[in-house]
């Protein structure tokens, strides 16, 4: 090797190099034909519309919404898929979508849906009662990895078990009455049906495509999941946009308008819808400012004013979430004393906190969910900011020198928790002002915070919830059904009763009686039990450029982009 190198005449060597490089380039370009379709400037040129580019905070996990539980996947899925019901544009109440109407039997067990006629999936398969039952049966008969918490989270959360009967299921059967009528039978009455069918996870998908691309073929391999061809490349729904491509290298997802959309009024105005994945929040803002995207979700509240000044439209949604100061009953015995918990509630200046650390439109919370949800009570006991009262209560309880570990998360922002550190600082100074010794404990969100707080190991902690749909159970049930979760209510003498009351309220079929039951629970929660101190409801915002019109915002962050027009 060394010899041959030296033997070569320098000029010859240079020639050889050029020759080799040229040959490589040639052979590469031989197999590198441009795949553009003649048109030139890309894209078709049918009935106008243009392109809307949206900055997404993360990559969707997959395109089959049934196996998903994250916002980024759902955002894309909402444009491609539709459910039997949906949430009214701009609100949280359930309205018809692929079903034009429904009726339930008096016991709340049988639900008959009348279906929209003349609808077909993107692949041409007609949408009918068979397709509806096919979807229900597909969800119910999941096996193996398909039953994993990470995949069929929403099914397990709402319907419970599967056809193997290992755990009881809310779902019993689905029957085809005629081409456009289907009946779903449940095993018990619940307040959350049919609202929950508006969740993207329960979207109607094309039976043909599900079969053809073996949609149920998910496997847990090693420490990760492997998804089906359907979920990665062939999502097929009835919605106003059709999946076109996912360019992973460039981090972009492209959808195109469904030209055969069944509802002429709902047909998309824009021709192409592009999602660009930009994980860093500051990068999203600057990309909007420089014109690379037309909008993004969850701008930092600190940026609202600046973005508005620069002509962008910051749309603040109605808040549909809760931030609370959680209290675990597990380890610190002082916190099992109601007077101590009430003292904490009086010690915190929530008005001050909301105005200094939360965005425009945020409200102080009086109970553990916002007033748009059933069973919200105007008569709950409230706790005004009153440091003196707090000190008195602590003295009464004999805990003047209370010391408590106060946990807060790093490496995260949530719509209800836009600035964990700022909120922690404010609350902790309030607590110290009434003589409580606060030991700050910070953990990364996925680096111990969730894990530890979920086992009740965090005596005081900041956490919250964003509603999936408009039922009280979606909030309270998630918090207190388990007596060994974050609040560890099993250690108190009222924890089991709270869980029982919640179960009883949820299975009450009559809407009015149910609302009354929840009002009672809320009143008890705030006066007798106080397992958490409600702090605030913060509105998540969405921002779009000046030239974008027709965006209808949703408190559930469930925007559909078919109504948008771009100049």
């Amino acid at each position: 090797m060394a010899v041959s190198k030296r033997a070569l005449n320098p000029r010859l060597r240079r020639l050889t190099t050029v020759g080799v490089a040229g040959a490589v380039a040639l052979s590469l370009s031989a197999c590198a034909e441009s795949q553009r379709d003649g048109g030139g400037d890309g894209g078709g040129s049918s009935s106008g519309g243009g392109t809307f580019t949206f900055g997404a905070a993360g990559a969707p996990a997959l395109f089959d919404p049934f196996y998903a539980s994250d916002g980024e996947t759902f955002r894309v899925a909402r444009q491609i898929f539709q459910g039997l019901v949906t949430f009214e544009p701009g609100g949280v109440d359930v309205v018809p979508e692929l079903a034009t109407g429904w009726e339930s039997s008096d016991d709340g067990l049988e639900w008959t849906f009348t279906l929209q006629e003349g609808v077909s999936f993107h692949d041409g398969t007609p949408f009918d009662a068979d397709a509806v039952c096919y979807n229900f049966e597909r969800w119910y008969t999941q096996e193996g990895a398909g039953q994993s918490e990470a995949l069929s989270y929403y099914w397990k959360q709402n319907f419970g078990g599967f056809s193997d009967g290992a755990t009881p299921s809310l779902y019993e059967s689905c029957s085809v009455d005629d081409e456009h009528t289907a009946t779903v039978t449940l095993t018990r009455a619940t307040g959350k049906f049919p609202s929950l069918l508006g969740l993207p996870a329960f979207s109607m998908q094309s039976p043909t495509a599900l079969e053809e691309y073996s949609a149920n073929d998910v496997r847990a391999e090693g420490d990760s999941f492997v998804f089906s061809e359907y979920a990665r490349e062939h999502p097929t729904g009835t919605g106003p946009f059709v999946f076109s491509s996912y360019d992973e290298g460039n981090g972009t997802i492209e959808l195109t308008r469904n030209e055969e959309y069944w509802d002429e009024d709902g047909k998309a105005n824009i021709e192409r819808l592009i999602f660009r994945i930009i994980p860093d929040e500051t990068a999203r803002k600057q990309e909007l400012q420089s014109g690379g995207i037309d909008g993004y979700d969850l701008p930092n509240p600190a940026d609202y004013q600046q973005l508005r000044d620069e002509g962008f439209q910051v749309e603040v949604r109605a808040p549909f979430n809760i931030l609370y100061l959680g209290i675990s009953q597990k380890d610190n015995p002082a916190l099992r004393d109601l007077r101590v918990r009430q003292a904490l509630a009086h010690a915190i200046n929530r008005e001050g906190l909301v105005s200094s650390t939360l965005p425009d439109g945020a409200e102080v919370a009086t109970q553990l969910y916002p007033d748009s949800v059933e069973g919200w009570s105007a008569d709950v006991r409230t706790y005004d900011y009153d440091p003196e009262r707090a000190e008195e209560l602590l003295a009464e309880a004999g805990h003047e020198d209370l010391t408590v570990d106060f946990w807060w998360p790093t490496e995260v922002t949530r719509p209800y928790l836009p600035d964990p550190q700022g909120i922690f600082n404010a609350i902790s100074q309030d607590l110290e002002a009434v003589g409580i010794t606060v030991n700050a404990v910070s953990r990364p969100w996925a680096g111990g915070y969730i894990e530890e707080s979920n086992q009740g190991n965090a005596p005081l902690f900041l956490l919250g919830w964003t509603g999936d749909y408009n039922t009280a159970d979606n909030f309270l049930g998630s918090f207190f059904s388990s007596t060994e979760g974050q609040f560890y209510t099993g250690e108190s003498d009222w924890g089991q009763q709270l869980a029982d009351d919640l179960a009883a309220a949820d299975s009450e079929p009559d809407e009015e009686i149910r609302a009354g039951l929840y009002e009672e629970i809320n009143e008890n929660l705030m006066s007798e039990w106080l397992p958490a101190i409600p702090i605030s409801h913060s509105p998540p915002a969405i921002v779009v450029a000046e030239h974008v019109e027709g965006l209808v915002t949703s408190p559930l962050t469930a925007e559909e982009f078919n109504t948008i027009t771009v100049e």
């Binding site: 090797m1 590469l28 197999c31 590198a32 034909e33 795949q35 553009r36 890309g42 392109t51 580019t53 990559a59 996990a61 994993s148 918490e149 990470a150 989270y153 391999e221 090693g222 420490d223 990760s224 999941f225 492997v226 998804f227 979920a231 992973e248 290298g249 460039n250 981090g251 972009t252 492209e254 192409r272 592009i274 660009r276 930009i278 994980p279 860093d280 990068a283 600057q286 990309e287 420089s290 014109g291 690379g292 995207i293 490496e411 953990r443 990364p444 969100w445 996925a446 680096g447 111990g448 915070y449 969730i450 894990e451 979920n454 086992q455 919250g464 919830w465 388990s482 060994e484 979760g485």
Partner: protein
């Protein structure tokens, strides 16, 4: 020579094996984990336990490692759980490697284009204004945190002036054919000139930000090497023989000074990857640096394993090649 190569390759395998064991154990020792990252505020104790079992994370670690190795031998390194969920980890690496390499290559090219001429001129005008100015510049370049410089460049040239794009590799939804994954190269090969230009323009700001460190090194090495060579006997001889200045410079000074410079350039990989973690974040480039940062945040074990192992292997291989070429030139090294 052959025996030397075989021995070094054997050592390389051992290093990679040791690194994989360490990495595997160490990742699983991190607090929290993919389960928390996947479930977030929706986690309950039951769901966490169930998911941990689904992912096999409740099994003894040596068993997990054994399964990892067994599947890795068939080319299956697992599927991403957080960075690009559902994508095979190896694909995540293969998609992102070109992005980072493209950025690194342009950064090095900029560093060379500025560093070598400047180093040469500075050496020839040793102690004068130009020399002092460029030395100061290279030192300031080291003192400015890379991410701060990246922020400044982006804020001035993309956000305020709007001359260059603020982030990404190519305009979203551009109609470009993908061949190699190197977007500029792809555009050239398929003769989609606009796509190539678009990708190149996206690369400019991050590459300039990233080039400050290699620039400082290349500049100083060049300057020192040229100074050394200018002092060598044969240059003095050439000058005393009356050879024209330009000829001396081309034939003797530059060529001999290039040897250490070229070596240095080859060894910049590690520093560039460090810098890339920061620049890719500021400019939202879906490269290896971003995969690592997101991987740690979301505890994506498969992606972290592949990306770290592959980066280390690349780095070690480059070093091996450098050593081998030295060994070919200087036989004494082989016996060391």
């Amino acid at each position: 020579m052959l025996r030397y190569t075989v021995r070094r390759l054997g050592q390389l395998m051992l290093v990679v094996l040791a690194l994989s064991v360490l990495l595997f154990a160490w990742l699983r020792a991190l607090p929290g984990g993919p389960v928390s990252a996947l479930l977030g505020d929706r986690a309950t104790p039951e769901s966490e336990a169930a998911l941990r079992a689904d992912l096999g994370l409740d099994q003894p670690i040596f068993l997990q490692y054994w399964r990892f190795v067994a599947r890795a031998l068939t080319g299956d390194f697992g599927t991403s759980t957080g960075v690009q969920r559902g994508t095979p980890a190896l694909d995540v690496f293969l998609q992102r490697f070109p992005a980072t390499l493209e950025l690194a290559v342009l950064a090095i090219l900029i560093a060379i284009a500025v560093g070598i001429p400047l180093g040469y001129l500075a050496a020839r005008r040793r102690g004068r204004l130009l020399d002092n100015l460029s030395i100061t510049w290279s030192l300031v370049g080291i003192a400015v945190p890379v991410f701060f410089l990246a922020f400044l460049l982006k804020w001035i040239f993309a956000v305020q002036l709007g001359w260059l794009p603020a982030s990404g590799r190519q305009t979203g939804g551009i109609d470009a054919t993908r061949v190699t994954g190197f977007y500029v190269l792809d555009g050239l090969l398929t003769q989609e000139w606009d796509a190539a230009l678009d990708a190149f323009v996206h690369l400019l700001l991050p590459a300039i930000a990233l080039s400050t460190i290699p620039f400082a090194v290349i500049f100083r090495i060049t300057r020192a090497a040229v100074l050394d060579v200018l002092d060598e006997d044969y240059v003095r001889t050439a000058r005393s023989k009356g050879l024209a200045g330009a000829v001396i410079r081309r034939r003797h000074v530059l060529r001999n000074a290039m040897l250490p410079v070229v070596t240095t350039i080859g060894l910049q990989t590690g520093a560039l990857l460090s810098g890339a973690v920061l620049t890719e974040r500021v400019f939202n480039i879906p490269g290896l640096g971003q995969a690592l940062a997101l991987g740690f945040e979301r505890k994506d074990f498969p992606v972290l394993q592949v990306v770290i192992l592959a980066s280390a292997m690349t780095y070690v291989l480059v070093n091996l090649l450098v050593d081998l070429s030295y060994a070919a030139i200087d036989p004494r090294i082989r016996t060391r």
